[in-house]
Symmetry: C2
Subunit: 228 residues, 2 copies
DNA sequence: ATTATGTATACTGTATCCAGAAGTCTCTTA
DNA sequence: TAAGAGACTTCTGGATACAGTATACATAAT
């Protein structure tokens, strides 16, 4: 992060530990680091060309995020998920995200509603064009916007932490048979219920949406199409 | 933590960072460290007689727990709560704890039910004797046991983290007019609904229970009887 | 009196080093 | 051959030192 005022450079660099944390996190979320992959302080430090200290601190932070777990023989590993984990996490997500959607329905403003509507419209348009990358992006954005409207910073933070666990599966989720269409239909219904100020309906729609997502992931895991 | 096998001492001491973390956390929870109190690495390190490293790591962990916040001028401070924070946190607690109670109703075994019943019986007995300390302890234990029955380690962890924010208020909560009696009545009703395998009823009872708790805390804060 | 500059202090972030623990491998002895 | 001891390797946790940054205070200049 650098700003330039004329010829004067104002540098506000993030601490190294933050940079390592974000880089590792991104690698995990995007699947560059596979579940089970072992990570060792010294190795990462040598690769990056820094000391162990910021690497260690990044590891501890990832550990607290439950994105890595500590190995008994030293080092950390990218977290793996059992079927039970998937059930557990989706259960918690359901509780949190439906609550956020409930709050969002209470608090949302008309301009935010129309932004959401625009996302759904764009999704339908992208579906017609078969632009799957765009659809994945719009799907994520719809949920980001929806939860942001709940006005609870801590809740959003929590939700995003849980969503991160399955970030690398979002493509598989949507590519499942009928995945794109179902997702758009769900979003359309949520939007409708929000316009009508029916928070309990939105809440239920989000629960069902997540239940469907969970079943898809479990099915894909069973078929060996994705690794836990 | 030391174990002794005959004359052989097996020492499994916790890392210093864990010890500092737990000690600071306890001081925060029990009100020894007041909201707003500033904490500085070097100072704590000097007081304890260790280097800064484990202190820093403990601070980061407490920060992640949202029990302390980073100060712009260096150091950390014990977290303060606005009324909005109280509302936010109780909202999230309500979502999480009611979900946990719902799961617990599905999973609980008869022996655990009778343990819960025993806690309620003991609470009524302690109320008659005016043993308030005992009542506070039993209240906490009831909830610990209830949530433990949900069989979701991550959910329990989350819930406990949120409960910790108001740990120092639990006495005020129960000492509020009619607090003890209401709490016992609530627990009795939850127990009844659990026996009857009505998870949605338990869920609602827990929501109402927490709503009441929130109102009490907000009222006590308004009256200046507790500091946020 | 006000503003600018220099210095001291307080703190953080990072690098380096040391000691210890745990696991693995090799050699020796029974 | 099997068991035990010692050496080696790999890793962590913590201590220490150094450099950088931000703030407060004192002094000099206008």
């Amino acid at each position: 992060m650098e700003k330039t005022f004329g010829m004067v450079r104002v540098s506000k660099r993030k601490p190294l530990r933050e940079e390592v944390y974000e880089s590792l996190k991104k690698s995990i979320l995007y699947g560059k680091l596979k579940a089970g992959q072992r990570l060792v302080e010294e190795q990462i430090a040598n690769q990056v060309g820094i000391s162990r200290t910021p690497v260690r601190e990044a590891f501890y932070k990832l550990e607290r995020d439950d994105l890595v777990r500590r190995l008994p023989k030293g080092g950390f590993a990218v977290r793996e998920f059992t079927r039970e984990d998937v059930e557990e996490i989706f259960g918690i997500r359901s509780a949190l995200e439906s609550y956020a959607a409930y709050l969002a329905t209470l608090h949302i403003t008309p301009d935010k509603l129309s932004t959401l509507e625009k996302k759904v419209d764009e999704s339908e348009s992208a579906l017609k064009k078969g632009d799957h990358e765009k659809l994945i992006q719009l799907h994520t954005e719809f949920h980001d916007l929806l939860y942001k409207a709940c006005k609870s910073k801590k809740l959003i933070e929590l939700i995003n932490n849980f969503r991160d666990y399955f970030f690398r599966y979002r493509s598989a989720l949507l590519h499942a048979p009928g995945g794109f269409q179902t997702s758009i239909t769900d979003h359309r219904q949520m939007l409708k219920a929000m316009k009508e100020k029916k928070p309990r309906v939105v809440e239920k729609l989000v629960r069902d949406h997540l239940e469907r997502g969970k079943e898809i992931i479990l099915r894909e895991i069973s078929k060996g199409r994705v690794t836990p």
